[in-house]
């Protein structure tokens, strides 16, 4: 028995090539993921991640906006700073990123912005109404213990301190392996896309777009990224139907966000993104968010939305304009009440 065990244990030496190869692939994934080369040349099928990276860098320095919108992709795609600006007369910037980058990099993102800019008059948290409902998003704001998606780890690894990185891997050990593999997988998808091989199941949102194009669009639109029709977004049909769901707003997170960023110079506002009017949940959402947020969700025509999904249906340009006008009108009214 002991001899057999010994013989079997001696077989484990054959694992060495596997261990070395696995280690090398992890090192490769990390090296690639943290490099500028990856962002510029191997991530062009994921414009949201490109936008994430830009917003954590010097591109958001010396902007000195009066109103800063921050939040998940509903902020990135649904808020047009120029529209808000024309409604309020205040310089506006959109600091929206992907949900995971926001959930796991919120303090990094805002501390970087606040360090390199004048304190804004308003910080507006703009989020999708469903991101805090358990079965629709594993990486919702209120659940930072949930396993983060790739973007969440990536912004920490690329822009965080050693402590930030250690913290996320300590709380999510599986991400230590998932992240480098995810990096290589995204690079592979980008290459396939680049060579025109639509082999994998790409989401329309991941249409080919270069880093410089994303940077130019963000710079021209003060951080807003438009969902364009050439990416396959034509609006959802008027006869769409979303069944009523019960909302569970994360009261604690919203209060904590207000506490952390409210100062004598800065007012924190919380806006909830609009939903299509074929969604039967409007009343329950308005009830759930009533009194908790400054601007509860409202409904808009389905054709304003790009995807028939609860948690990731962003507005297209007409919807984004309407939403921004609504947000601007709210802030203008607020200012008119505040000003003597």
């Amino acid at each position: 028995m002991v001899r057999r065990l010994f013989i079997n244990l001696s077989l484990t030496r054959y694992l060495l090539p596997f261990v070395i190869a696995a280690t090398l692939i992890l090192v490769e994934g990390y090296a690639l993921g943290t490099s500028d080369f990856f962002v510029k040349y191997l991530l062009f099928n994921h414009k949201m991640a490109q936008a994430d990276d830009i917003k954590f860098t010097a591109e958001t320095e010396h902007i000195n906006a009066d109103i800063v919108f921050v939040g998940d992709s509903s902020s990135l795609f649904d808020v047009i700073p120029s529209v808000v600006e024309s409604a309020t007369g205040l310089k506006t910037y959109n600091l929206g990123v992907t949900i995971d980058a926001f959930a796991h990099g919120e303090s990094l993102l805002l501390s970087h912005y606040l360090q390199h800019n004048h304190p804004p008059k308003y910080i507006v948290l703009h989020v999708n109404p469903w991101i805090q409902v358990n079965h629709y998003d594993t990486s919702r704001l209120g659940n930072r213990d949930g396993s983060p998606q790739w973007e969440g780890i990536w912004v920490r690894v690329r822009h965080g301190s050693f402590r930030d990185i250690a913290a996320i891997f300590t709380s999510n050990p599986e991400s230590f392996i998932n992240f480098p593999l995810g990096t290589l997988s995204l690079a592979g998808q980008s290459l396939e896309n680049y060579f025109g091989q639509h082999i994998g199941d790409f989401d329309h949102i991941q249409a080919k777009i270069t880093f410089d194009e994303v940077r130019a669009r963000l710079a021209a639109n003060a951080g807003f990224l438009e969902l364009t029709e050439e990416n396959g977004h034509h609006g959802i049909p008027d006869n769409c139907h979303f069944e009523k769901l019960e909302a569970q707003p994360d009261n604690e997170y919203i209060q904590s966000f207000r506490r952390r960023y409210s100062t004598k110079d800065t007012t924190v506002l919380v806006f909830i993104a609009p939903i299509p009017d074929c969604d039967e949940s409007l009343a329950s959402l308005q009830h759930a968010y009533g009194g908790l947020v400054d601007l509860p969700p409202r409904s808009m025509p389905p054709r304003y939305f790009q995807k028939q999904a609860y948690s990731s249906s962003h507005t297209m340009l007409p919807g984004a304009i309407a939403n921004s006008q609504n947000a601007g009108a709210y802030i203008r009214e607020l200012r008119s009440r505040e000003l003597p």
């Binding site: 079997n8 077989l11 190869a21 692939i25 396939e192 082999i199």
Partner: protein, 503 residues
């Protein structure tokens, strides 16, 4: 549990270590059984949609046809062992097993019969379990092997390495290997087996991704060409011919890759699974093709259908003149059933008829031509390169075009009638056959020039390889693993599913 998943590799590693560690006997059988059950549940768990509930119970429910079939199969094997006479009772047992299989597999011809398992369940592996059960029932009834114990039966009939799509191993081989203490592994064997697994992954990841993308592209091009140009167009025949050739290569790459993986892992565990391919693209005719393609399937049918059926025919109508033609009839019936076995719809009956026609016409040609030329001149003819090229191209083109019935979707070309469909098929076959024969001849021509330049052959020019040390082999394995891991990571999400899983 996909073969390209880390889960499968981890599972295989643990299973191999456990199997090697245990001395032959009940404990080892029990370990193999546990590994088999976990593998079946793992396969069932991959089936969409994700049903609510505790996932292990869901997987158990989904795989209940497989489990029930295995249990019923044992009753049949046990009953076969109890029989005093094989006459009468054996056909009933075989019929019982086949009926249960057809019912569980939901053949469309009997779709009116209610199912036991609701609408969502898996029948992955069922077809290959059928072969193992029938083999046991027949051999036990005929007294060639003794009735196996339940544990031994379970570990054989559901062995995780050949559960999904073979290779089909005989019980005596499996039992002998299972009862034998595995010899201590030499490092050369270990790295050779790992190398085989790596070759398998190389085929199912980068190569299969490329061939699958190409086959999808040419298939779509074909639909576009038919819908734009109609059926009487060179473009249509040409594109279909290319699509059919690429689909065949894709099937081979995908299937043989899987075989390399399971055979490699099997060797590490001390099981020598039989080979399933022997250079099928070097086949000299359609009969030879089937002796090189999915060999264990052909062998099984040869032993349990072709030989007994031919014996019956010869006993009834045999004489020196008719016996060779009776062989052609037996071939037709055997390959008709091979075609029907591949799927549950009427389409597969056509496939079977075409396979049957292919082999029987090939057989009749051999009989007739050797009659006319005489055996010696026929042998000489077979050795001629131009004859080899023509018959090889014909065999491969024919198989490619019959295989097109598996992947072509008539809904995509709704205006094409059945007659039009046959016309396109025949014309595409002619294009593919001519192109194939010309290509083979051209390659011979080039080879003859290479031979003029390097009369000793290229192999003798290269330095002779010496035996590698363990460290060298480990380093080389490490490099290959790193390359495969890169392919796997870069192409994750694009790796096509194992094609033969569906059969």
């Amino acid at each position: 549990m996909n073969f390209d998943s880390i889960l499968f590799l981890g599972f295989s590693f643990v299973a191999v270590m456990a199997i090697r560690f245990c001395a032959p006997g009940r404990l080892r059988d029990a370990i193999i059984c546990v590994a088999n059950i976990l593998f079946i549940l793992g396969c069932a768990k991959d089936i969409p949609p994700n049903l609510p509930g505790f996932q292990s119970f869901v997987a158990l429910k989904l795989s209940s046809p497989v489990i029930l079939f295995v249990v019923m199969g044992y009753f049949a094997v046990y009953a076969a062992g109890r029989m005093h006479s094989t006459r009468g009772a054996l056909p009933i047992l075989i019929l019982f097993v086949i009926t249960i299989f057809v019912w569980f597999k939901r053949y469309s011809l009997i779709s009116f019969v209610p199912t036991l398992f609701g609408n969502i369940f898996t029948t992955i592996g069922l077809s290959y379990i059928l072969f193992r059960i029938l083999h046991l029932v027949i051999d036990v009834a005929q007294g060639s092997i003794r009735t196996p114990g339940f544990m031994s039966y379970l570990s054989y009939s559901t062995f995780f390495l050949n559960f999904v799509s073979g290779p089909i191993q005989r019980y005596p081989d499996f039992a002998e290997q299972s009862a034998r203490r595995p010899a201590p592994l030499k490092y050369q064997e270990v790295y050779a087996s790992i190398g085989r697994v790596i070759v398998g992954y190389f085929l199912i990841i980068p190569v299969s991704v490329a061939t699958s993308a190409l086959s999808k592209k040419f298939t779509l091009l074909f639909y576009d060409a038919v819908n734009t140009n109609g059926i009487m167009s060179y473009d249509v025949w040409g594109v279909l011919a290319i699509a059919a050739a690429v689909q065949l290569v894709n099937l081979f790459v995908n299937f043989s890759g899987y075989m390399h993986i399971v055979i490699g892992i099997g060797r590490l565990a001390g099981f020598h699974l039989p080979e399933n391919f022997n250079h099928p693209f070097r086949s000299e005719n359609f009969l030879d093709f089937w002796a090189r393609w999915h060999i264990t399937l052909s062998d099984w049918f040869k032993f349990y259908l072709f030989n007994p059926f031919l014996k019956v025919l010869v006993n009834k109508w045999g004489n020196p003149k008719s016996t060779p033609y009776l062989g052609a009839v037996a071939f037709f019936v055997t390959f008709l059933i091979i075609g029907v076995w591949h799927g549950t719809s009427l389409n597969f009956v056509f496939v079977g008829i075409l396979f049957g026609l292919g082999v029987s016409i090939n057989k009749i040609w051999q009989i007739e031509i050797s009659k006319r030329l005489g055996k010696n001149r026929y042998k000489e003819l077979c050795l001629r390169q131009w004859y080899k090229n023509i018959s090889r191209s014909m065999a491969l083109s024919y198989f490619s075009m019959v295989f097109a019935l598996y992947w072509l979707t008539p809904k995509m070309i709704p205006h094409v009638t059945m007659v039009g469909f046959i016309e396109i098929g025949i014309l595409a076959f002619l294009v593919l056959f001519s192109a194939g024969a010309l290509t083979l001849s051209a390659s011979d021509y080039i080879k003859s020039y290479v031979h003029l330049i390097f009369p000793t052959g290229l192999k003798k020019i290269l330095p002779a390889t010496t035996e590698w040390s363990e460290l060298q082999l480990a380093a080389w394995t490490c490099i290959k693993l790193f390359a495969i891991a890169n392919f796997a990571a870069f192409l994750s999400g694009s790796v096509p599913d194992f094609i033969y899983k569906a059969y």
